[in-house]
Subunit: 324 residues, 4 copies
C-alpha cells in the first residue's frame, strides 16, 4: 500500500504526468508553524535543472490543502498538493510495446493488467519522491530542535568525494548518452538515546524500508556496513566512554540492538545509474515479438544520485518522527 508509518503516517498519490501529485500527513502534532515557503529550501535541492539532471524542470509549488490554520498545524491531517506542469506525454506512448530496460513498465503492466498509467512511469516515477521531500520537511519540524540531519553525495561513478573528477565523469556519461550512479551518505546527529524497537521496528528497519521506496536504490548500509563483515569483533565494537553512552568510535553507526545509542546515525545508500538513457539498448518488442534495438525518448537525468541527498535526509526524518 502507498502509506507508511504509525505515529506519523504519510499517504502518497499521483502520477508523473497526471494533473497533480500529493501527500497526506497524519499524526502531526498541533502547534507547529508551517507555511508553503518552508518547503522551498529542500524542494530546490531535489529540483532538476543542474548539470546531469533532466531538462524537465517543475516549479514544485506546494499547496497546503488542509491541516494548517493561521500558520500553525492544527492536529488534523495535512494534505499537500503539487501540480504537474511540464509534461510531454506523447513521449511515452510506446512503452507498452517496448518496455524500457530497468524500468517498471513491464512489471507494472503485468501487475495491473495494462491499466496502469504508463505516462512518464505513472505512479512509479521518481517524481513521486517530491512527496517524500515534502513529508521530510514536516518530519524535520517534529524532531527535537537539536537534531541535525545532513546528507551528501560521497561517491559518483565509483569515484570517492575529493578523489575523483566528478565533473568529467558526468560529462563523459552525458557525451555517451549514458548514465552513472553514486553513493549518498546521511548523518543524523543529536538524536535522543532509545529510539527504535528491537523487533521489528529497529531504526535500520524503518530507514531501509523507506530507502527502498526511492526508485533506483540498490543497497543500504549502516555504520561500517559491508566492511563490518570483514572486521573482527575487537575492531568493530565501540567502547562506551561515559554514562551518556558516547562511544570512542562509531562503527555501529549510532545504533545498538536496533535502538539509537546517542551517537550519530550514519547510513549510505547505493543509487543505480538512471535506467533511461538515450544510447541504444535492446529490449523485447511486444508487437514484433522479438528483441530489438531501442532508444528511450524523452528527457532524463544522467545521474539521479545528484538529487537523492535531500531525499535521504527526508526518509531519515520520517523514520525518526515515527519513533519519537
Amino acid at each position: 500500500m502507498n502509506s507508511f508509518g504509525t505515529k506519523f503516517r504519510l499517504s502518497i498519490f499521483g502520477e508523473s504526468h497526471g494533473n497533480s501529485i500529493g501527500v497526506v500527513l497524519d499524526g502531526v502534532p498541533a502547534g507547529i508553524t508551517l507555511c508553503e515557503q518552508d518547503f522551498e529550501a529542500d524542494l530546490s535541492r531535489r529540483r532538476a535543472g543542474k548539470k546531469g539532471t533532466t531538462p524537465r524542470v517543475e516549479p514544485d509549488q506546494p499547496h497546503i490543502v488542509s491541516g494548517v490554520f493561521d500558520g500553525y498545524t492544527t492536529g488534523a491531517p495535512i494534505a499537500i498538493l503539487f501540480n504537474n506542469t511540464n509534461t510531454r506525454s506523447k513521449d511515452y506512448s510506446l512503452f507498452r510495446e517496448s518496455p524500457r530496460p530497468g524500468h517498471a513498465d513491464l512489471t507494472a503492466s503485468i501487475k495491473h493488467n495494462n491499466y496502469n498509467d504508463i505516462r512518464g512511469g505513472g505512479h512509479f516515477s521518481g517524481r513521486i519522491t517530491l512527496c517524500l521531500v515534502a513529508a521530510g520537511v514536516v518530519a524535520k519540524k517534529m524532531l527535537p530542535p537539536a537534531v541535525r540531519i545532513n546528507a551528501g553525495l560521497v561517491e559518483l561513478a565509483g569515484e570517492k568525494a575529493g578523489e575523483g573528477d566528478w565533473g568529467e565523469a558526468l560529462s563523459s556519461a552525458m557525451r555517451d548518452g549514458d548514465s552513472i550512479g553514486g553513493v549518498v551518505e546521511c548523518k543524523c546527529m543529536n538524536l535522543p538515546i532509545g529510539l527504535g524497537e528491537p523487533f521489528f521496528d529497529s531504526v535500520e528497519s524503518l530507514i531501509s524500508h523507506l530507502a527502498f521506496s526511492i526508485p533506483g536504490i540498490r543497497g543500504i548500509e549502516f555504520g561500517d556496513g559491508f566492511n563490518a563483515s570483514r572486521m573482527r569483533g575487537s575492531e568493530h565494537n565501540d567502547c562506551y566512554i561515559n554514562r551518556k553512552g558516547e562511544t570512542a568510535t562509531n562503527h555501529a553507526g549510532g545504533v545498538n540492538g536496533g535502538i539509537t545509542n546517542g551517537n550519530p546515525v550514519i547510513f549510505r545508500i547505493a543509487v543505480k545509474p538512471t535506467s533511461s538513457i538515450t544510447k541504444g539498448q535492446e529490449t523485447f518488442n511486444f508487437i514484433s515479438d522479438r528483441v530489438e534495438e531501442f532508444h528511450v525518448p524523452g528527457r532524463h537525468d544522467a545521474c539521479i544520485a545528484l538529487r537523492v541527498p535531500v531525499i535521504a535526509e527526508s526518509i531519515a526524518a520520517i523514520a525518526f518522527a515515527n519513533l519519537i
Copy 2:
C-alpha cells in the same frame, strides 16, 4: 512493535533466558499440512553446536499450541512455543554495571528505565531469530510450490567462497578469543511476476525491513547492489528477451520498480562479527564511573554469520507470503 506483516502477520515474544519464546502467526490459510517435524530441517540449520558457534545448544523443540487440527492449519492463528532449557543466567548479572560494547545492554536499559530483562540480552537476543525461522517454515508452505529460496554464506572474514580458507579464518579468530563476520546471499527463484508495491511496500522494502530485525546485520543489497552505483546505465540495465519478462542479465536482482519481474530475486546481507568476545575490551563501568578493561563472560558464537543463511531464507519467505 514486535509484529510484522499485514496479510501474514507474525508477533514474537520471549527472552533469551525466560521460560520460553514463541511466535504467533496470523493470516495462514486453512488446509496447509503442518506438524512439529516440519520445523526440524530449518531449525537444525540455525542451531548452534558446530565449529564457530556457541556451546549453548538448545533442542529447539517447537510446540504448536493452536491453529492446527488433525495435521492441517485451521485458518486461526498458529502459536508456536519453544522452551528455553540451557540457560546460565548468573553469567549476565554484571551487564548493567558494564554494558557490553556492540550490544543493546545500554540502549535497552535506557529505553526501558532498567526494567528490561538483561539476562542473555533478554528480548534483544539472537535467540529470538528462532521465531523468524519457525515463521519462515510456515511462510515457505504458503508460497507457490515452484518457488525455491536458497541462501548460503558467500564471504567469511572478507574471504570469498572458494577463494579463502574459511576454516583457518575461523580457527584463528577463536584462538584469539575474537570473532569474525561474513556475507550471506539469498536467491529466490520461480517467483510470480508482479509481487510488491511501488510505495512503500516494495519487495526490497519488506525484505530489508525484516533483515534489519536480525541482530548484527549492517547492510543489505539487491542484485548488483553497491556495485551498481559504479556502473553505467548501459551496463546495469537488463534487456528483456521475451514476453514472459525474462532478462538476458539480472543486474537488478529480479525487481523493477519494487515489483518482481520473474527473474531470481537476489540479495546479500552483511553480518557483523559477534559483539561478545572473550578477548579483553574496554567499556564504561557505571559503578566505578570510568572506562575499564572488560571480559564478556558466557558462551558465544565466534561467527554468527554461520547461522544466518536459514534466517535469510526465512525473512524472504515471510516477505513474499505478505505479497502473494
Copy 3:
C-alpha cells in the same frame, strides 16, 4: 489517525471551511471504470437543500486527482478532492469563547491546544462525511455485482416509518428552532458467505467502527439488536434450511460468529438530533467565566438523520470491500 482499512484504505483530510476536503483511496484494483459522474447519484442523496437540511448547499463536485487513466482505475491510489465554496467563516468566531453544547468545539480545542481550525467545526464537521460517500461509491464498485446495499430512514423523532407524520415532526421542530433525530436501517443483500474475521475484525466490528466515525451517531445494532437481549434462545436462533446456509428467519442479521452467513446483513444506527439549534441554550462562557444563554449562529440541519442513509450504505460498502 484519519485512515481506515487494510485491503481498501481510505485516508481523509480537510476542514469544513478550508479550501477543499478530500480522500485518498488505496487498494482499489486496476481496471474498474470510474469517472466523476459516477459520484453524482450518491452525493446528491447526501446533499443538503431539502426541507430539514441546512441552507448551506455545496455543489460537491468531485475532482479525481490520481489513480484513474482513460476511464479506468490504474491500481494506484485514487485521490478525490472537493472544493468548499459556500463558507461563511465569520459565523464561527465565537466558538472558543462559547463552546457549542453537543459539539467538539471544547474537546478539540483542549486536545489540540487551541490550534484546531474551529471554523465550521473544522475537521470535525459533518461535511467530512462527503469523503465517506465518495469512498463508498468506489467501494460499491469493488463488491460482486449481485450485492445490493440499501439504506433508508425507518424512524424520525421516535415515529416509525408509515406510522407517524414525519413532515409535521420536522415542521414542528423547525418552528421551534429545535432539531430531531432518527434511526437509519441498512440492508446488504447477496453477500458471499464467509466475510469477516472472528477476532477482531468481525463484520459488526468493522461496520460499527466506521459508523461511529459519522458525527452524531449514538448507537448501532445488528439483526434483532437490543431486542435480542429480551428474547429467548429458542426465539432468536435462526434455523438453517438448506446447505447454502439460508435461514428460515434472520434474527442474527446475516452474521454468525462475526462472519456473513449469506443472509441479508441488517443494521440500524441511531442518529442524535442536530446539536446546532437556533433556540437558546446555556453554555459556559470562557470570557465571562460563567454559564450564559447562547444562540448558535449560522445555518443548520434540523435533522441530520435525513442525510445519513447514503452514508450508512457507504460505510457498509467500505467494510465489505475490506473483507472481500
Copy 4:
C-alpha cells in the same frame, strides 16, 4: 486478523478444546508491577460456576511466559497462556453434520473449507474472551490511577435491574432448557479530556470495534443511545458548566466529536440469549439433506450476559490504553 490496537496491541490465539489459549500484549510500558495473582479478581468474575452459567468450570490459571522480570513489565511483549483442562471434545463431533443455529459452525466451516477446529466452537468460542479479560487487567494498569471502570448487568430477559425478578427469569429459562439475554452497562470515570480521534478512531469506534469481538453481542449504544434519536436537540445537548468541561447532564455519554469530554463515558451492550440450548430446535442436516429436529449436546450457559460485565470493562480499558 486476530490482533487489535496500535499503541497497545493484543494478539490472541487458541481454541476452546486445544491445549491452551493465550494472548500477546505489545506496547506495555516497562516498570508496571505484574504477577499472576493480579489476574485472579477479574478472571473470577468471568468464570463459570454460578447459577445460569455452564458447568464447564476452568481454573483459568494464567502463565506469564514473557515480558515480566522480577515482578515488573520489561517493555517487551507479554505473552500469557491458559491451559484448557476441562474439555469433552466428543460432544462436538456432529456439528459439521448439523450446524448449530446461531453458532459459527457453518460460517467457519465454509470460510475455512472444513479445516476449522470445530470442537467447542474452536477459535470462535466464548472461551477466547478469557484473553480479553487478561488483556484488560494489564490495560487497566496502563491507565491513570484515578480512572475507574465499572460494568454491571442492568437488564436481564427484558427486566430492568431492581424492577424484575432475575432469579425467577433465569430459573424459568433453565427449566425450559432455554436461554435468556441481557444488557450490560459500563461506566468509565475520571478519564482525561481529549482521548479519541475524529476520523476514524473515535472513542466509540474503538470500543464498539472491540465490543463486537465478544461473541453474542447484538448492539451497542453510548450515552442516551437509541433514545437520543427520539429526543430534541434542546433536550439532548449537554450544557457545559465550567472551564473543566463538566456538563450539567451527560446525554452524550462523555464523548463529543469522538473525543472524551471528561464526563463519564457510558455505554451499554446488548447480549443475545445463548445460542446453545438443550431444548429441541430445527437445523439443516448435511447428511440427510433436510431440516431435522436437533438437540445441542454438551454443557452451556443459560445466560452468557451474566459473564459479560468484566469483559465490557476489559474492552473499555483496552480501548483507552490505545488512546492515552
